[in-house]
Amino acid sequence: MDKCPSDQQQTDTNRSIVAHPWRHDPEPTSRPAVTALSEEELALKEHVSAFAKEVIGPKVREMDDKGVMDPEIIAACFEMGIMGIEAPVEYGGVGLGFTAACVVIEEIAKVDPAVAVMVDIHNTLNITAFNRYATTEQKEKYFPRLCKSALSSFCLSESGSGSDAFALKTKAEWDEASQEWVLNGTKSWISNSKEAEIFIIFANTDFSEAHKGITAFIVDKSNPGIAVGAKEDKLGIRASSTCEVTLENCRVSKDAMLGKRGQGYKMAIELLNEGRIGIGAQMVGLALGAFENTLPYLHERKQFGRSVADFQGMQFQYARALMEIEAAKVLVYNAARLKEAKAPFVMEAAMAKLKATEVAQSTASQCIDWLGGIGFTKGMPAEKYYRDSKIGTIYEGTSNIQLVTIAKQIQAGYRV
């Protein structure tokens, strides 16, 4: 890719443009802004941004058209070191914090929300699960693979249990004779599953205990009892594989149990409470990507003798849109910092995800309006951001679930 020619024309409106004076990250002071980043996080942001634009960027359209995650992109992500952001350094991870993960996810989402969700789920759900619940042996066995080469899937949802996650039917039965757990059931809507090598499966070890029987198990793709079904043909984030994962007499040793028996539902809740901040970061990135890909065109496009961007009606709209993105961004990074500080963050995380996903949809939709007819075509990236944004309010906790979560937190302060 030719970077150097100083006479290169810079009017390519299909490109993600870079510098706006108002967007530089603020200098840290004694009471820094919530969105202030450390020196490391800023360095990460810059490098991942270049990586996303130059390596992922050229393949985005093709991956979306085909509905396939390019294996070279997956390999590039591992090589870049962004698949073990919070994993310990001694196992091949980068040993950074949660906000660093959010920064990486945001930068990638600006270019491709589908790749971003792959990186997000792998990091904020699965790497975190291992960080928090794995034994030393499990860490030694799985972290190097998870950091260097093995994509992972988080398997909770089933066709009969989405929001009502703990009504899951996948069962785990202990076989005393062979000293193995035998898993049976079918998981639905599982991201990354087509390419994943390591699966975290939530199964119930004792239905009489209701959700308190739910337990997490680590299953390797090589296990003959696990099979990944056909991919869903989706509206958006099409490159991200979403398949059924079937467990048929899937036998795993007791060492495959992640965390304690019956701890599964608590684990899932905790992981999803945090993971949704990552989705918030993804959606903020999506909104910014759509916005930054649209504004240059608005300045170049002239109607009635003026730039479309100069019409006051347009100014009011894109000013308000960026305000909404900024609000979502502040919510997301505030929630991230609260979590890092080990302060209560459940309500803030739910608010961040809810706001960011709604902002992403409205921004992407408005971008198409602003672009006019050309925004409606596949020649511009706007229509992809629009399609990609729709899943935001659905996965990792629907918007209604977020509202219920927030309400519960509110009510906890008022109950007699």
Binding site: D2, K3, C4, S6, Q8, Q10, R15, I17, V18, A19, P21, W22, H24, E40, A43, L44, E46, H47, V48, A50, F51, V55, E79, M80, G81, I82, I85, V89, V94, G95, L96, V104
Partner: protein, 248 residues
């Protein structure tokens, strides 16, 4: 063997450059800055030579304000071993830069100096050549291929007429051209490792170099906006139009 690699902090290649209102220069406040792309190629070549076992140590040097340290850190993240920051806040002419690099080279005693062929802000294409001359070293500019065997350096250069292969003995100055290599991305683990690598600091006074310029920028203006052209239907029409505009 040791290499000194010069890296310059410049306005990012993708930025739409604007001239300051007072015409004194180009707007840099709040604008995204990055390592000069040709400097990236220089760092990459040095790292590849280290991976081949030819170089033992790579020192990345940058001359500029405090933020030039970020550029050095990027070089460290790509594989340079340590950095040298020559602090100076104002814009420097290539001759001053060459003198400063000479002073640094006299301290560090490298076996080769790798620079980008030119910086994308001033497009001077002078520093490497001036440095080689000041040091009395051979120079291999516009390198598109570099081979080192012992103390023999063979470089393929891109010139107007095609490719030229030259040979010389180290120590030498090499300036890199676009097709020499494709720079690697600094991976996250390497970015973190780079934090622990040492960056020494110095300044022109400490190096004993006079960086005062004999040039003064009088005015900076944007190029005239491109006027719309016209389409002509025939050669006769073209001739008529050219005559009309007194162009022939």
């Amino acid at each position: 063997m040791r290499a000194l690699v010069g890296v310059k902090r410049v306005i990012d290649y993708a930025v739409k450059v604007r001239v300051k209102g007072d015409g004194s220069g180009v707007e840099t406040a709040g604008v995204k800055m990055s390592m000069n792309p040709f400097c990236e190629i220089a760092v990459e070549e040095a790292v590849r030579l280290k991976e081949k076992g030819i170089l033992k140590e790579i020192i990345a040097v940058s001359i500029g304000p405090a933020q030039a340290q970020e550029t050095i850190r990027t070089a460290l993240a790509m594989g340079a071993d340590r950095g040298m920051h020559v602090k100076h806040d104002d814009i420097l002419q290539p001759l001053a830069v060459a003198k400063l690099l000479k002073a640094v080279a006299e301290k560090e005693k490298p076996d080769m100096i790798l620079l980008g062929k030119q910086a994308i802000d001033d497009d001077c294409n002078q520093t490497g050549q001036m440095l080689a001359s000041l040091m009395g070293w051979p120079q291999a500019t516009f390198a598109s291929k570099v081979d080192v065997e012992g103390s023999n350096l063979t470089v393929v250069r891109e010139i107007d007429g095609g490719l030229e292969t030259i040979g010389m003995k180290l120590p030498a100055v090499i300036t890199t051209d676009l097709r020499l290599n494709e720079p690697r991305y600094a991976t996250l683990p390497n970015i973190m490792k780079a934090k622990k690598k040492k960056i020494d600091a110095t300044d022109p006074a400490e190096l004993g170099v006079d960086v005062s310029s004999k040039l003064q920028t009088v005015k900076v203006v944007e190029p005239p906006t491109r006027q719309a052209g016209g389409v002509v239907g025939s050669v006769q029409e073209l001739m008529a139009k050219l005559k009309e505009k007194s162009l022939i």
